[in-house]
Amino acid sequence: MSESTAAQPLLDVRDLRVSFRTRSGTVDAVDGISFTVGRGEVLGIVGESGSGKSVSMLSVLGLIDNPNCVVEGEVIFQGEDLLKLDDKELRRIRGKEIAMVFQDPMTALTPVYTAGWHISEQIRAHEKVSKKAAHARAVQLLDAVGIPNATDRVNSYPHEFSGGMRQRVVIAMALSCNPSLLIADEPTTALDVTIQAQILELLRDLQSEFGSSIVLITHDMGVVSQMSDRVLVMYGGRLAEAGPRRALMRDPLHPYTWGLMGSIPPTDGTRVERLAAIPGAPINPSDPDRDRCLFSSRCGFASDACRPQPGLVEHVHGHLDACVLPYDQRPALRLEALTTVTTESGASA
């Protein structure tokens, strides 16, 4: 995706901050992230559980149902700041302009209604069409997402579909109003591997057909490498690295990204005894010591320079990261990191 689309992005998130007031103080789930999604672009957001990737996208649509949650920053979508809209105005956007697909298709559909009912409900929430017309569109949509015998299946209940088919129903529902942005929150995590590939392929086909932008949230670097134009890597509610997919996959800059890449099984023939794992545990978001690179406690290259939090620096065109390591030494350091991890795991094996 060329940078010209970034000039007028579809979604422009600026300094988004999501915090939860708890008994032990304020917890920043998302700590000032900024990014854009261009028209027709597929943006992958990667990170471990608790890195703030889902929360940031839920907060964009005002879907965090927690009275102790504070969302700050700006979310400019088609020239409007979504965070300033009230619930009624947001409803106009939800489902119509920005649609979501959630992780677990088993629980995303209300069990007592048919697939067609779910899709019709969404269409009729945004367009004045008859029940009959909405039903007919539901059949077309189910057909488009590859559900065989859609005319009959439109009257099936969620429990009568398999997991993969259910996710197709959810995707059909999400696409029913031709949204300009589709947020897919771990859409394949709950599915088995062969189905995962099918769903990703479906998303890719639909994206080229409908031209929607997609934000793909995942913890799986493999999924990101198959789908995205651009990738954000999040850690502890902050951006660790951002860049075009090709550049980021070929030359990852941030030590955290190295760790994530190391967790992909190699497919070039070398068999590893054990997959590399990032030592330590994900950062506890309620840890008060936040004025530092949050990854430094797990990073083999941490030093005093990691405090305070280094800013995002653009190294090559569109490829940024937040790390103090000298840019020109990164390839060598990455190699070092890989070998250390391998010997460590070799020793423990």
Partner: protein
Amino acid sequence: MWRFAGKRALAALLVLFAISVLVFLIFFATPGVDPAARIAGRNASQETLAQVRQSFGLDQPIWTQYGVMMRHLFIDRDLTSFVNRGAEVIPQVQQAIPVTLSLVIGAAVIWVILALVMGVLATAYRGTAVDPIIVVLGVIGVSLPVYWLGEVVNLVTQSRLHDTIFAWVPSLGYVSLSEGFGPWALHLLFPWLTLAVLYAGIYARVLRSEMVGAMNEDYIRMARAKGIGEWRVLLRHALRTSLIVVVSLFGLDFGALIGGAALLTEVVFGLQGIGKLTYDSLQNFDLPVILACVLYAAFFVVLANFIVDLLYAWLDPRVRHV
């Protein structure tokens, strides 16, 4: 569907048969009780007792007695009371049925509406002061015993304030629906409310906890993400899925109440319903009436459960094909 209904009808017959046998056995196996002595009255001589036994067929083997009684109940339909000789049992039950049905159905309508409103409002306004207020109201409703609440209501409406603001309240007792909807409803208004308060409290709490649980489900987040309004999310998604539990509870309670569990309300408000009839027959050790009442009650419990099963299938597609 018809096969399902047929199976259930067969099962219901078996249940009714088993219950009639049980009642019979319990009646005769109760230690220290001689039905003949009850009928004959205090200090009856041995001769009188023997005479009573003979004329009531109590000297026959128990299975013969069972057969005779069932024949009188279901075929000849002229079963008579032990205690009150000549009083036929079936007309008594037939007279009591509309009283109990009127009381329970009316109360059920009130408590279901109240519980729905309370449960939905408590869920909609959870996190605000409305929710705990409704919860506390529910607990108060559950904690007021019917016999106490009924007496207080009577004291206020029939005695203390009867000459002033409650002058419109008619005297206690039942007025048939055939005498007009107005008088019928007016006579039953306070019994309805009294009975409904208890159940509304229980149902509102159950519904609220079900709905609050449902509101944390993924499909609610999905529904919101579709851009539909919060009330629609609440009513069409959360309430709809929560109704399943309420319906099964309702089937049990409704069946039991129709079957005579509304006894306390009937006694307090002077209604000659099934509960009162059953209670009196138990007091008098009047086997034919007990038997008729228990069979009637069992029939309605079974019927209510059958209706609940149908409602279940309608509410929850997942049980339809089982």
